[in-house]
Amino acid sequence: MTALATPASTETPAPEAAAPILSVNNIEVIYDHVILVLKGVSLTVPKRGIVAILGANGAGKTTTLKAVSNLLRAERGEVTKGSIEFDGNRIEKLSPNELVRRGCIQVLEGRHCFGHLTIEENLLTGAFTRRDGNAAIKEDMEKVYAYFPRLRERKNSMAGYTSGGEQQMCAIGRALMSRPKMILLDEPSMGLAPQIVEEIFEIVKDLNAKEGVSFLLAEQNTNMALRYATYGYILETGRVVMDGDAKMLRENEDVKEFYLGVSGADRKSFREVKSYKRRKRWLA
């Protein structure tokens, strides 16, 4: 790791307690026994924090999230080194189901709705681990419909037939149904109309503020992500190359150049982009 990657928890202004809800320590992930994808990633999500992982395609964002939610095993990947703690307990050995029960749920990249179930049934599966009765579930479902009115309109359609954006909403709504303490959001804005993107981040903020849900989000829409997150990590080819306060990152020159784009008057039109690549300074 580079010098920039400092232990985060000490610097992060934890809203409540100092104890983080999630801490990932120096994990290494290998797919298929031969493909080394994460080469020592550490990160921390404070209680009630919103933390963003940024990075180019293939940097390992999704892999990191899956390592936390223990879905790697289903893809023949494994965490070979390091440790992961959620709420003070080691969780590498837990089943995904147990993890959801403890309040940590992932929204998979690329939607993954149950195609043959209706939207409403999809939402109900989200409540699979809950034991607090139908009334409470119903109530939450209303909440999800309030967040995404479009879902209410399509609630009796089979998810497989709905549009890409509708499926994305469904996947997020489904995760909310489990009343999680922490949500791992993988590319929530993908394929959503700008309005909805904004709405989703508002929901994130809302849940974070009102219900104390923590978020770890992998997002390409850096601008948005850094606006709502409190802290950010930048991943490149399986390593954390930079981390820091969201504000600090927003102001970093390189981040600006490579992830945010220069806003305002200096912004280049997409038409004018030339094919040149400047080396990122942190790779030097």
């Binding site: 290998i30 298929d32 026994h33 031969v34 493909i35 080394l36």
Partner: protein, 361 residues
């Protein structure tokens, strides 16, 4: 770094599209072929007749099925019956025109099963996945019934079976009771090598890519201009051709005769399992799968008593058999867990490891 590819640059696209771009692989294949022919000279009768000949024939059938299931993604449970079509077609041709060489008829008989395959493949345009299996199952049961019930197919033999009459190649008997295993082995080996070469050309070219496209995402394939019906029927035809030839070879170059129930659904499953264990969509996998599924029980049959005997355990043949079943079953599950994509993938990963050896990755 035993398996070193550095320094082997490909300077033309011709070289790059070769089936075995690496020198080590090419040498390996050449050695295997030489060894295979040498086995015909030095191998015992048992090795040839009970191990190698059937192994090669099943490999060919597996290649055929792999074209359909592994490359084109169309599940078929009718392999046994299509083998039967080849066998019965060859039998009819051979008895009707005994003057033509049997090798010609063996190769011709594949066209009959290809035709039948295309017919039963017609529903594949509409029906997919496990449901498609029904069309092939209908083929399986209907054809099997025909082999049994249409006496014309077996020339009204009282025994209801077909027998391979004597025939020769270059003056050496290759079918019939007097054909030696060596002679038959050389014919089988040569045919299998030749047909494998053709299959390999097919799957590495345009047609093979179209099949894989249909397999991986039929909608997208159609949207980029591949005609699903043509591609699928082509797959049925090619697959059934290989399978049919394998069936003819099975009867004429291995068994020497057969009843209808040789081509039953168990045979279909048997071949299907070879390609799953070996690796779907891999020609080498077809060979590996055939080796494992066919030879594992034989091997265990030899090994198990050898293990139990020294301990003074006189285990009956039945108990050995039961153990053998259990072990084969357990091993299949074990292999799947180790590598669900089959032995071929295991082989690749092994090569990958060799390549980076002594580093773990």
């Amino acid at each position: 770094m035993i398996y070193r590819e550095a320094g082997q640059y490909k300077t033309s696209y011709e070289a790059d599209r070769a089936v075995f771009p690496l020198r080590q692989d090419r040498i390996g294949i050449a050695l295997i072929i030489v060894a295979a022919y040498a086995a015909g000279v030095f191998g015992s009768d048992f090795l040839l007749q009970a191990v190698l000949i059937p192994f090669l024939i099943f490999s060919l059938a597996a290649i055929g099925l792999n074209i359909l299931v592994g490359y084109a993604g169309l599940l078929s449970l009718g392999t046994g019956a299509f083998m039967g079509v080849g066998a019965y077609a060859c039998y009819k041709l051979m008895t009707a025109f005994p003057e033509v060489n049997v090798v010609v008829w063996i190769l011709m008989s594949g066209f009959f099963s290809a035709a039948v395959g295309v017919f039963f493949g017609l529903p594949s345009l509409r029906i997919k996945g496990f449901y498609l299996a029904v069309a092939t199952l209908a083929a399986q049961f209907f054809l099997q019934w025909s082999f049994n019930r249409i006496p014309w197919l077996y020339n009204y033999n009282i025994s209801g079976a077909i027998e391979a009459p004597l025939s020769t190649l270059f003056g050496v008997p290759i079918t019939g009771a007097t054909a030696t295993s060596e002679a038959r082995y050389f014919v089988v080996l040569t045919l299998v090598i030749g047909l494998t070469w053709l299959a390999s050309n097919l799957v590495h070219g345009r047609i093979g890519r179209q099949w894989m496209a249909i397999r991986d995402m039929d909608i997208a394939a159609e949207l980029i201009g591949i005609r699903p019906l043509t591609a699928k029927l082509m797959a049925f035809a090619c697959s059934s051709y290989f399978v049919g030839v394998a069936g003819a070879m099975m009867v004429f170059l291995w068994y020497g005769g057969a009843e209808y129930n040789v081509f039953n659904i168990d045979q279909s499953f048997f071949i299907l399992f070879m390609i799953i264990i070996g690796g779907l969509g891999s020609l080498i996998g077809s060979f590996m799968g055939a080796a494992l599924i066919f030879m594992l029980p034989i091997g265990l049959g030899i090994v198990l008593p050898a293990i139990t005997e020294p301990f003074g355990l006189t285990v009956g043949a039945a108990t050995i058999e039961h153990l053998r079943f259990m072990i084969v079953g357990a091993l299949i599950i074990f292999f799947l867990i180790v590598e669900p994509h089959g032995l071929a993938r295991l082989w690749q990963i092994g090569k990958q490891k060799l390549r980076v050896w002594p580093f773990p990755y």
